[in-house]
Amino acid sequence: MSNKLPDVEEILEGAVKKHGLAVVPLLQEIQEHFRYLPEEVLRKLSQKTGIPLIEIYHAATFYNSLYLTPRAKHQINICTGTTCHIRGSGKLIEEVFQVLGIGPGETTSDGNFTLETVNCLGCCAVAPAMVVDGKYYGNLTPGDVREILNKIMEKAAVEE
């Protein structure tokens, strides 16, 4: 971590210059760099700006897209909007558990996959839908989910 310290200073400096003391944009900026909100960075943010740490954590825990735990290499977001729910998003979540052994909010022990649920991607016409690493998939069956995850795992194995 000691290698990162200079970066943290630079990043926080830049963030405050851009966003002032607006806590949510500051956190979004930090998350863009670190892919989540590391505790030490939040502590430094508090020291630097004078924003109480409790307020920083209030914002970080209030919003669904701000994460306090490290993200995996691949992020799976399964939509649990109403249409996706009645068209079977629950079964997709179960399938991910079958394949990877993780539930919503969890990361695999090898750090390869994180599963989150999303409160509506706005893709209701192709429900049930999910996003994996920014790519959208729709009209999914549990079998489709298995195939998509297997493809990613195969690709990762080849790259190793």
């Binding site: 607006a22 806590v23 944009p25 109403t82 409160n119 209701c124």
Partner: protein
């Protein structure tokens, strides 16, 4: 794209539009591919690339235009394409179809029949999109533009008459006259509350102070609603034009578009639209030489449904935690940065240029006495024709679901339609002749809301739906009010108990009383409407609740503790495929050579029923 300098006066816009009029020529060959997320998920980007390649290879790129647009509406049949001249609609188009479409339809004026929509009543193919019942029964005053413009090209928007309303306003209307038009048009907010737009602008205008703001609520959080997303992705300039006119009417110089982070494509398109508008001087200083200045910033949400509530939205736009506050004071008096603010929904802003262009009287000739114009609905769920639907206020639910929507998919029976998202309710068959309007649906126990319309069939359990919404609201409640935070928790506990098979008839009265208490004692719209899913389902589907609590049975076969799968041993061929699929090892071969489920091990996942090729496994 044309390189044009700043439009200094309204006449410059008219001149530019004149120079662009070729773009409107519908007789020129043009291939339109839907670029909205629903179709791109199914491969419309690859389709567009395939068409581009073929046009280039055949030296046709100069003569035949390829345009990627926003949502074409008939999402069920995507990827969608329109071919001009003639507005021929092709459905479920694959990249491999590109060659045939160019060869036959573009070059020889012949139809590719297998890609045409078939009218279910006549059995005949329908070529022109305007003749397809799904479209014919709508009034697409707002959405039609999406068929004709590249949302990333301001010149397309201008060619179609874009920014003419702004030129009319800044070229000679007073702010008071603009407000009067909105009032006479009976334009009401499209975000859900339906407050009179003209009145809201008037309150803000007459609030003391020079510093005022326009906020656009693009935090479309209702699950099942994507009309704002489609408008932002398909016609972002219309949103901007509406905002600029609103700013002029109230005297604001700055605007904020607060858009949810779950819509990254919409954010990108909006950013590009803002950049282009600034380039032409439509945002910034001295717009059209009128002396009026206005510009916008885009503020991204971070994932919180409650930020759609206007006071929470203000805090979110200020970069803070989006917790609602008491009203009064209303945002028109004390809003963004403590100053008078108008907050309107995306769809409301898109209506504004239409009101100005048509004039209030013509605009109000569509709709009902209390609500002028049209409303966009996202018709989704178990309906045959899912998609984006636009109808005048006063259209009935039946006309939308069975007329435009084509009725229920797969030969199943209609059960309920859910409107208004987590703030709304489920309405049964008996309510299908209700008109979509703000008051009618509210009296029936639902709300019109922002436009999500989810159709449910006999395989949907309304108790499960009520539980689903409470679970959603539990995680989205800001937690500030005791009655919302604890009340929703307790409501959810009771429903969980009922769904697990441990409910009693007394629980129903308790649910009702608790729901009404939460409704009456919480501060903001989230809590106040959180009771609607429970109260509406109790009102119209009491029998289904009674089956859960008294008979310990889920008639729809959804609540896993309250039904079982059963293998019909007369139909079973003994192939064993179900046993192979079973993740719990609960299916065993019997002495007779067929298979049987051990209910002690079964997790009721349904994998066996899905696998069985003989439909021998059913819900009991």
């Amino acid at each position: 794209m044309e390189a044009t300098s700043r439009l200094a006066v309204p006449e410059d816009l008219a001149g530019l539009r004149e120079r662009l009029k070729d773009r409107l020529d519908e007789k020129k060959p043009r291939l339109v591919v839907c670029g909205d997320t629903g179709c791109t998920v199914r491969g419309s980007r690859e389709l567009a690339a395939a068409i581009e390649k073929i046009l280039s290879e055949q030296g046709l790129s100069d003569r035949v235009e390829l345009k990627v647009t926003g949502c074409l509406g008939f999402c069920e049949k995507g990827p969608l394409m329109l071919v001009f001249p003639g507005a021929i609609l092709y459905q479920k188009v694959q990249p491999s179809d590109a060659g045939e479409i160019v060869e036959k339809t573009v070059l020889k004026n012949e139809l590719v029949e297998r890609l045409l929509y078939t009218d279910p009543e006549s059995g005949l193919p329908v070529a022109c999109a305007y003749d397809i019942p799904f479209y014919k029964l709508q009034n697409r005053a707002l959405l039609e533009t999406c068929w004709y413009i590249n949302p990333l090209d301001i010149y397309d928007y201008i060619a179609r008459g874009g920014y003419a309303a702004l030129a009319k306003v800044l070229g000679g209307m007073t702010p008071e006259a603009v407000i009067a038009e909105m009032k006479e048009a009976r334009l009401r907010g499209r975000g859900g509350a339906g407050f009179a737009t003209g009145l809201k602008w008037e309150f803000c205008r007459s609030s003391p102070g020079e510093e005022k703001y326009i906020l656009c609520n693009a935090d479309e959080g209702d699950p099942g609603a994507f009309m704002d997303r489609s408008l932002l992705e398909g016609n972002p300039h219309a949103v901007l034009e509406g905002m600029i006119i609103a700013a002029y009417a109230v005297g604001a110089k700055e605007g904020v578009i607060y858009i949810r982070i779950e819509y990254p494509t919409a954010v990108l398109k909006l950013e590009e639209a803002v950049r282009q508008a600034r380039e032409l001087g439509l945002l910034g200083k001295d717009i059209f030489g009128s002396g009026f200045d206005f510009d916008v910033i885009i503020s991204k949400g971070a994932g919180a449904f409650v930020c759609g509530e206007e006071t929470a939205l203000i805090r979110g736009a200020e970069g803070k935690v989006g917790e609602p506050r008491q009203k009064p004071p209303f945002p028109a008096d004390v809003g963004f940065r403590g100053k008078p603010t108008v907050i309107n929904n995306v769809e409301t802003f898109v209506n504004v240029p239409l009101v100005i262009n048509q004039g209030a009287a013509l605009y109000h000739s569509t709709g009902t006495e209390s609500s002028g114009g049209t409303k966009i609905f996202c018709l989704v769920g178990k309906v045959k024709n899912t998609g984006l639907v636009e109808v005048p206020f006063g259209t009935t639910l039946r006309q939308i679901i069975f007329g435009i929507g084509g009725g229920i998919k797969g030969g199943k029976k209609f059960k309920a339609v859910q409107t208004g998202g987590p703030s709304g309710g489920c309405l049964p068959e008996a309510m299908l002749d209700l008109k979509v309007d703000f008051s009618d649906l509210a009296q029936a126990g639902s709300i019109m809301g922002s436009g999500g319309m989810i159709v449910m069939d006999e395989d949907t359990c309304v108790v499960d739906v009520a539980r689903y919404f409470l679970q959603f609201l539990k995680s989205e409640s800001c937690g500030k009010c005791f009655s919302c935070r604890v009340g929703i928790d307790r409501l959810l506990e009771i429903l969980d108990r009922i769904i697990a098979g441990n409910g009693s008839v007394e629980d129903l009265a308790l649910l009702e009383e608790l729901a009404v208490t939460v409704k009456d004692t919480t501060m903001c719209g989230l809590g106040q409407t959180s009771a609607n899913p429970v109260l509406s389902t109790l009102r119209y589907f009491r029998d289904e609740y009674l089956a859960h609590v008294r008979d310990k049975r889920c008639p729809a076969g959804v609540c896993r503790s309250l039904f079982r799968y059963r293998i019909d041993e007369d139909l079973c061929a003994g192939c064993g495929a179900c046993a192979e699929q079973c993740p719990a090892g609960a299916i065993k071969e019997t002495d007779e050579g067929c298979y049987r489920i051990d209910h002690g091990l079964c997790t009721v996942c349904g994998a066996c029923a899905e696998t069985c090729a003989l439909d021998a496994i059913t819900k009991d």
